[in-house]
Amino acid sequence: MNFSSTLIEEAVMAFTALPGIGKKTALRLVLHLIDQPGQTSEQFSEAIVKMRRNIKHCSICHNVSDAEICAICTSPKRNSQIVCIVETIRDVMAIEATGQFNGVYHVLGGVISPIEGVGPDDLNIESLEKRVHDKKVKEVIMAISPTIEGDTTIFYISKKIKDSGVNISTIARGISFGGELEYADELTLGRSIATRLPYQDTDK
């Protein structure tokens, strides 16, 4: 692509550094900003710089936060005795979006995968152990992807914290809501049968 201006070229390059944005999309965004008043671009860049400069990771749960401790951990409405363990910040957002969980979180920052060079020490496991041992945590929910690496991580963490007497649970795995049995893969269906649940009238 031939740009008549190095200023535009630089801006396009900056946008293409972002995931999912190619040259054409980047150019469209840049041209759009040119059409808008200069203020729009200033607000835009300010918001990004401010965000990046001030964003922190919560010292308790490692979620992203404006302050030293995040809004979820400080909220008096949340039950700090139930900790949900997730891989990434995105998982926190996904679970928050359900509105079904009233406890607090612990973000691991990934799963154990020695092939990728990720060992237990690279994840926030030590702080979790401390948290479980020091504070009065009653239940830990493992909301980790049902992959081989996820299973390893669950297994590993449960060994580490089991002595503290905390209850350990994992999110249910099985047939997705609105899914049809016929199309479920054998592994999922087999597991769903094996770990079936008592029927409750209130189940909805």
Partner: protein, 360 residues
């Protein structure tokens, strides 16, 4: 298979060919692309090469993708679209598979090549591959378990290596991997054991026919899981694993010992015996798949004269056609040698002369 279409596969730029439902012979000089045709058919059934060739090497020089299409019946089409490193898609009747392994076993296939003697001469990996290849075509669950086991094993070995480097041994992480290996290992062990027991008589029958009833042969499944649980084995080998930085016990070390006349085949078998042995194994694999799946696998015979003399080939083709082996594909370098034999037996056969990636 009624028809095969190739685009940019190996030395074929663009090929379309229709087959006889019974016997198909590809003749031509060495290096003209006879085996490539068999490989294309195999690939379409198993989603990978019989020779362990990677996808990149299957693309015609100068191209960046290849496509294989097979029409197996009037209304049954399988298409493989592969852009190495980017995309690998299999479609059945225009519906793409979510996972490639769902396709394996749908169209059973057995390929017999001169390299098969590696089953005897090489290490245990080849023999496990033979067992796994057969069982994978019979049961998708087996392949899934095997893949799970191998993935966990890889992570465990990587962990052992990492710990060796850092000097800090994390027992709990190893325990986590041990726990994950147990169920798949047990499943695979039971499946292999059952398979060998059922397969053996079929194999012995074929060997008797091929060798004119010469010696007693057998295959013995050797696994450490025979006498002990994997849990114990992993514990016992903990120190060894730590030092060698890999997992030393498990179903990835299983073997299949071949016996002839009471002795190990590898040491006591002659070249001729070896070739007959391997051929009988492969034909028995065919028969076994046929019985279990109640569907005849495609039989791909590459360079059969390498294994057998003229008389034996005639006998073999007689056997294959007599017993109704379904659809057969054969390659040979001599145009007339094969034809003369085939003419005596086959009622429905087609000959294709292959030259430089074209059929003339």
């Amino acid at each position: 298979m009624l028809e095969l279409k190739l685009v940019n596969f190996k030395n074929y730029e663009d090929l379309r060919v229709s087959f006889s439902p019974q016997l198909n012979c590809f003749v031509g000089m060495n290096g003209m692309g006879k085996t490539n045709l068999l490989e294309a058919i195999y690939y379409l059934c198993m989603t990978k090469s019989n020779f362990g060739t990677n996808d990149r090497q299957m693309v015609r020089q100068g191209a960046d993708f290849f496509r294989i299409e097979g029409n197996f019946a009037e209304q049954d089409k399988v298409v493989a679209k592969v852009i190495p490193g980017k995309q690998k898609k299999f479609e059945r009747n225009d519906v793409a598979y979510d996972r490639l392994l769902e396709h394996i076993g749908e169209i059973p296939v057995v390929m017999i090549v001169p390299d098969d003697t590696q089953l005897v001469s090489e290490g245990s990996e080849e023999r496990r591959r033979f067992i796994d290849n057969t069982l994978s075509q019979l049961e998708t669950g087996y392949l899934k378990m095997l893949m799970t086991y191998n993935k966990v094993l890889k992570q465990r070995n990587a962990a052992l290596k990492g710990m060796g480097k850092s000097g800090y041994y994390d027992d709990q992480l190893i325990q986590a991997y041990n726990g994950q290996l147990l169920a798949p290992a047990d499943f695979i062990y039971q499946a292999r054991k059952k398979f060998i027991a059922e397969f053996l008589p079929v194999f012995q029958r074929f060997y008797r026919v091929i060798s004119n009833d010469a010696e007693q042969v057998a295959g013995v499944y050797v696994s450490k899981l025979e006498n002990d649980s994997l849990e114990n084995l992993l514990r016992e080998n903990e120190q060894k694993d730590r030092i060698l930085q890999r997992t030393t016990a498990g179903i990835h070390r299983d073997d299949l010992k071949f016996i002839i006349g009471g002795n190990p085949l590898r040491k006591f078998g002659s070249q001729g015996q070896l070739k007959s042995f391997v051929l009988a194994l492969k034909l028995a694999q065919f028969e076994f798949l046929k019985q279990q799946k109640e569907k005849k696998p495609l039989l791909l015979l590459d360079d059969i004269f390498d294994k057998l003399d003229r008389y034996r080939v005639a006998q073999l083709i007689g056997l294959l056609l007599d017993q109704d082996f379904g659809q057969i594909f054969i390659t040979d370098t001599h145009e007339n040698r094969l034809e003369k034999i085939v003419e005596q037996y086959a009622t429905n056969y087609r000959k294709f002369t292959v030259e430089n990636g074209k059929i003339i």
